[in-house]
Subunit: 134 residues, 4 copies
């Protein structure tokens, strides 16, 4: 099942609305289940650095089908896959990337958000993810 443009746009709208509510200028990206770009927007005054961070968060969540902060548990110093974050052209392993799934658990893609404090990025990504029309 493929992520539809209409779904991506709904996710983007919800995430952007939440960012505005928090007073954050964020880059928001939605990738499909193969990791390819579906929709993207960068709010006015967002850091330029947020583009790549948002992209890599969404990519990380697609590649390992989990929220980015959970990937860190696997790859942090001392963990079994320590250093994993240097693979795949760089993973981002703090919060702000969330996989998008069907009600049946099938992977549809992922959202990645960057621009605020990490807890704010997570809140924005969660709002986007929750708006996935199904």
């Amino acid at each position: 099942m493929a992520l539809a443009l209409q779904q991506g746009q709904a996710i983007l709208r919800a995430a952007t609305a939440k960012a505005r509510e928090l007073g954050i200028a964020a880059s928001v990206v939605v990738l499909d289940a193969a990791g390819h770009l579906k929709v993207f927007s960068r709010m006015d005054d967002a850091w330029l650095g947020s583009i790549d961070v948002a992209m890599k968060k969404a990519k990380t969540s697609v590649l390992f089908e989990m929220e980015t902060q959970n990937v860190w548990e696997v790859c942090k110093p001392g963990a079994q896959a320590h250093g994993l974050e240097t693979t795949n052209d760089g993973l981002v392993t703090f919060a702000g990337g969330i996989p998008l799934k069907t009600l049946g658990g099938e992977l549809l893609g992922a959202i990645g958000v960057s621009g605020g404090q990490v807890s704010q990025d997570f809140e924005i990504a969660s709002a986007g993810s929750a708006a996935l029309p199904r």
Copy 2:
């Protein structure tokens, strides 16, 4: 003068509407005047290859401040800057990239479209460009 998110979204909407009218599934990208990603969307069933082509069209129009097909006149075999297309990580020099400018002629960014016949990509990019709110 910076390209605003609201401007990017209006351009994206107009381009997508034109693509629907033509029955084409396209990737549409808007970059700012420095070549950084502002907004992007890939319509359902667009070729995966259209993502990078649209990106490189818009990039080409930002880098040389002209429509992509006009860059070809400069870099085609026998022209003065033959082979220019291998610089800047690859230019795309057929139609579908159009610079976005203020009424005063200042560069705001560029739109890039890929997905249909080249003439259709140009028509879609033109519709997007014409919708730039000023």
Copy 3:
């Protein structure tokens, strides 16, 4: 507002003079607000490795609009954005990159310096930054 060549050159001159005073051979780079190269010089006998370090320091300061050592506070082990330095093709998060801003606080670009001890790089970058004509 765009960083002018004349501004970039004044910054470069001041940084180079400070480096000479300290007896350091440094690479000094000034990027514009979008992260594109404006002026660069490498002093005689500077390490070859200083070219990329200076570039990445300036880039880091443009991308996140802060001095490089302050980015480290955000991305060091245990901090909220741990590992951020692997994004954007590599950040440098020790001192020597400083954003350049107008009196009104608008980002104009950044200076990046590498070649000496980190505290010396910072002193050189500060001298360059202080010489920004406004």
Copy 4:
């Protein structure tokens, strides 16, 4: 024998003066004999695309120790090294890159210029090259 900063700066000044005389906004780069960046400046309003083109022109002249347009004679369709321009991360084979040599013929580096018509780029690079203090 290494290209000195003072030599690079003299070359840059002469090239920039010639560009101003021609009414061209150009990127001008000087590389050392190993192809590493020595000095660079981008004049105000130069195309963003000129940064990479100037870099690749200078690189091409260092790599093959000849003016860029002469490299084309070797690598054009039908010539013995046809397609050579795709090596070394991309060569530029139209005029604007000129090797810098000592009176004894030893390679010191190269100048690369981009921003105007190709014949203008060549004129600017020639002015820079002629100003090499020896």
